[in-house]
Amino acid sequence: MMIAQSDPRLAVIERRLARVARVVPVMSSKGGVGKTLLSCLLALALSERGVRVGLLDLDVTNPTAHVVLGADLSKFPEEDRGVVPPSVGGVKFMSVAYYSRDNPLPLRGWEIDNVVREVLAVTIWGDLDFLVIDTPPGIGDEVLDVLSYFPKHEPLVVATPSPLTVASVRRLLKLLTEVVEGELIRVVENMARSDSSTVTDLAKEFRVKFLGRVCLDENVDEAVGDVNALRKSRMYGDVSRIAEKLLKGS
């Protein structure tokens, strides 16, 4: 008997994620709302609370999480029957940037999907309580790959009160609530300046949880690249409260 023609990488993704308890993709269809900073700070805040955390930068053509964390790209990650993500600030961190460095990485859709498959197939996360995933804006390949390749995940949707963001995120929430159980979807407001109810109203509209506000921190850029400085930032304090709620299963 014979069977033929297939990409074997898809078959092993389940095994790679088998010891990952919770997957939290940080998503927003709108760019510039702070997904990368929030993803990194969330991973650091969870790690500080003693849980085992991984962070995957899935912004394939424009990875920047390594800049936030100050990760060393001068060496490739070690190999041990796969690729072992290096630890940065207590977080196991994986990014295509280890291989593309700071060169441009212009890719078409199917090439992005190939990168995601490759990274998921060869990365050895081991035991993790949380895998935080930084995703790019839009509803493109990386977001669809998260929805397809991760059997269970808990999207953390980032929004600001801007009408442009709300219009964009509403489309993402429409998509997510079609394919993910509503109780697993959470919304956070980033760059909050006031007690505007715009984002909480958006969460109510889709009957998903509002997890809290992260106030605009105009000084956080000064801490970028330094994990210790990031942990002293005002934004980190707000994100830590989000991390606490996630840990408690809110």
């Binding site: 074997p8 490739f76 190999e79 029957r81 280890y98 291989y99 890719l107 190939n114 490759e118």
Partner: protein, 129 residues
Amino acid sequence: MVHEWALAEAIADYVFKTAPPAKRVRVTVRLGELQAVDEEILEFALREIMKSQGIECEVVLKREDCVLKCRKCGYEWPLKDVGFEEEVREAIHFVPEVVHSYLKCPRCGSRDFEVIKGRGVWVEEVGWE
């Protein structure tokens, strides 16, 4: 152990998921030149993984030359004409698409090219008895 082991696990998991329980399997794998997978290590790893499950595995590896095609000017060229530094070759070995970070079309200079064949690991055929 290098990351070929992870690719061998992927092939093994594919076989376990698609073929019925069998004592002997024959796996034909196409290996794209771009990823430069070490054939000996991949074959060894695949046999070992299968053996640990009590399965005897015949591995047939087919090397496929890599050809690139520019999407801007249409020029096609073989990878063998390109000389990469060792570190770049290693980066491409892990994630073949990063070739776009290190290579441009030799005719027009565009990075908007595609790998039309010879990218990476592909299972061509699985047989069992």
